[in-house]
């Protein structure tokens, strides 16, 4: 019998500590998710024993008007805040990348603040802000009544976009911009023809990030939402307060599938370079 050669320096999967580690990661990361999804098909009110397959809870889900409304709110808020965050974030990144001006370091630091400030503090701050400083008018028609939440979401997600876009721009060859100018393009034409195409993957990545951040944000939304502006995570929380029913499982499953699909589509749209967005630039 031929003995297997000892594992090579890069054959991590053939060493037992690595295998153990990988298994642990797999279990703790994915087992809860899979259990959650599996039990959404469980034919029982309680989430403990498997009683048989059913789609009842999905049926219920799609007829629960309160949950559907919350879901629609969430999608609307996510869409609006994504558009605003990408625009603001990209511009902030461009300013910080392109120009030198007094207070640049301060602005750079201030921009990272929403990323590091604990969410609960942001939530309380938003609550106080919209209650005292700038009360958002009540009783506005949908979707204007979501304004406060959208503003709150933009304020914590646009720094993420800025960070991603800036990282991408770091790999931009400034000579490319100069080449466009040299060949006769004005400033705006240069941005449209050379800078934006380079930035594009990071814009998509940033948009995805902003969308998912907004869609699943609970803490900040909880403090800014009113009785008429319940979002999906807030609604799920209120359902869980009574008991974790398979309905909650079903709702979560829908959300997971939706996010995964969106990500897959976005990656597909960008082609193979997307996976390395912000890490490479062009080949030498």
């Amino acid at each position: 019998m031929i003995r297997k050669p000892p594992p090579g320096p890069l054959e991590y999967l053939r060493r037992w500590p690595m295998r153990l580690w990988l298994t642990a990661v797999g279990i703790f990361l994915y087992a809860p998710l899979i259990a959650l999804m599996a039990f959404s098909f469980n034919d029982s009110r309680r989430n403990i024993v498997w009683k048989g397959f059913t789609l009842d809870y999905y049926d219920k889900l799609f007829h629960d008007s309160a949950l559907l409304e919350a879901f629609a709110n969430s999608l609307t808020i996510a869409a609006a805040s994504t558009v605003l965050s990408v625009a603001l974030g990209a511009m902030a990144a461009l300013v910080l990348w392109r120009f030198r001006f007094p207070g640049k370091t301060a602005l750079d630091g201030a921009l990272a603040l929403p990323i590091v400030v604990p969410e609960i503090c942001m939530g309380v701050a938003m609550l106080v802000f919209f209650a005292r400083v700038l009360p958002w008018p009540q009783d506005l028609p949908w979707p204007l009544n979501l304004g406060a939440i959208i503003i709150a979401h933009v304020s914590f997600s646009f720094p993420f976009v800025a960070v991603v876009v800036r990282a991408r721009m770091a790999s931009f060859n400034r000579e490319m911009e100069e080449a466009a100018r040299d060949l006769g393009a004005g400033e705006f034409r240069t941005i449209a023809d050379v800078i934006l195409p380079h930035m594009a993957p990071s814009l998509v990545a940033g948009a995805l990030l902003a969308f998912t951040l907004s869609l699943d944000d609970f803490v900040i939304t909880f403090f800014t939402a009113g009785p008429d502006t319940v979002t999906f995570p807030v609604k799920v929380y209120s359902m869980v307060r009574f008991s974790v029913t398979p309905e909650v499982n079903a709702a979560s499953t829908v959300l997971i599938v939706l996010t995964v699909l969106l990500t897959a589509v976005a990656l597909k749209l960008q082609g193979p370079s997307a996976a390395t967005a912000g890490h490479g630039g062009e080949k030498p």
């Binding site: 000579e175 100018r181 060949l183 006769g184 023809d193 380079h198 062009e282």
Partner: protein, 374 residues
């Protein structure tokens, strides 16, 4: 060439970054149809000078004229000048043809004419049929050709090249050198090149400007630059050189003698020197202008144009490097000074094989040393 017609003029141009003068009071004229090289060590201001010409930097003082018109404050997109960047800066998201066409699209040239000119430019740089490729499917040399075509397609008055050959491997570099020369003759456009590589400048340019620390040192043809350097910096920067500091002992109409403390013998020159008697000056002798002879006796060889006892010195070979076409030696003379000597390998079986540690005679013609006053 008939009458030299100036196309670019720098008038007392200075560029300061903070306190540092990257370019210090440079006045320079480039004529129509020249292949001009800006040469100097890194940080000497040559790139800043080129960037001011392209319009990416504005001079702090002085003026830049193109065809007699002041363009000091004209933005880069309004200048009749195009540039080939060091990194080539080919747009990665466009095809080769789109890259080349970009300048024409921006200028709103009609589609039919655009296609024709793109075709023409691509064939000029021998990229026919590759118009549909993306830049990441091209080699480094091909990408440089795209950058060349993209700049030439706009038919600029002047083409700027920033370190055009620095990113290519040795073989390709030699090939591109010849091609750049041919290309320039074919299109007849004035080329201005920035380089830190003296071989490149000597091989390509019809005229070179040597810069150091922002100051223009000498503007001359490659031949004059090498054989008649104006200062120690130029002599040392262009090629290899043996520099001897000394004083002028004799200065007549038809000959002069320099006494250098490093040399045990006098340096005899077959021409007069316009310098003050007793003043410090420098004699520069190129390694290939020193002859190496076997030491067979105590009488030094005499090349016939200098009195006995001058222009010849004995030494010991301390270092040898075989370079194929030639060999270089370092010979230590009395007093410890080492002298660089280069010798062509004229035959395959060298009868006079010089070995390490051998004592030899070094001698040179009376016309070989270049006298430098600074």
């Amino acid at each position: 060439m008939s009458q030299a017609k100036p196309i670019i003029t720098f008038e007392n141009v200075t560029k300061r970054f903070g306190k540092l003068a990257a370019v210090d009071d440079v006045s320079l004229t480039v004529n129509e149809g020249e292949f001009f090289a800006l040469l100097g060590p890194s940080g000497c201001g040559k790139t800043t000078l080129l960037r001011m010409l392209a319009g990416f930097e504005v001079p702090t003082e002085g003026r830049i004229l193109i065809d007699g018109q002041d363009v000091s404050n004209t933005p880069p997109n309004k200048r009749p000048i195009n540039m080939v960047f060091q990194s080539y800066a080919v747009f990665p998201h466009m095809t080769v043809a789109d890259n080349v066409a970009y300048g024409l699209v921006v200028d709103k040239v009609a589609k039919a004419e655009r296609d024709r000119r793109v075709e023409e430019a691509l064939s000029l740089v021998q990229l026919d049929g590759l118009g549909g490729r993306k830049p990441d499917q091209l080699s480094g040399g091909q990408r440089q050709r795209v950058a060349l075509a993209r700049a030439l397609v706009k038919r600029p008055r002047v083409l700027l090249l920033d370190e055009p050959l620095s990113a290519l491997d040795a073989k390709l570099r030699a090939q591109m050198r010849t091609e750049l020369c041919t290309l320039q003759e074919k299109v007849g456009i004035t080329f201005i090149m920035v380089t830190h590589d003296q071989d490149e400048a000597l091989a390509l340019a019809s005229r070179c400007a040597v810069m150091n620390k922002g100051v223009l040192q000498q503007v001359a043809s490659p031949n004059d630059l090498y054989e008649f350097p104006s200062s120690r910096f130029v002599a040392d920067f262009i090629g290899q050189v043996n520099l001897f500091e000394g004083v002028l002992a004799v200065d007549e109409q038809d000959h002069a003698v320099i006494r250098a403390p490093d040399l045990p013998v006098d340096l005899f020159l077959d021409h007069g020197v316009t310098g003050a008697r007793g003043a410090t000056l420098w004699a520069a002798i190129r390694p290939e202008k020193i002859e190496l002879h076997k030491k067979t006796g105590e009488t030094p060889p005499n090349l016939g144009d200098a009195p006995a006892g001058t222009n010849a010195v004995a030494g010991v070979i301390r270092h040898e490097a075989y370079l194929g076409g030639s060999s270089t030696y370092e010979v230590e003379i009395a007093g410890g000074r080492r002298i660089k000597v280069q010798r062509s390998n004229l035959t395959r079986w060298d009868q006079e094989d010089f070995a390490l540690g051998e004592t030899v005679w070094l001698c040179w013609h009376a016309c070989s040393p270049a006298v430098l006053l600074s």
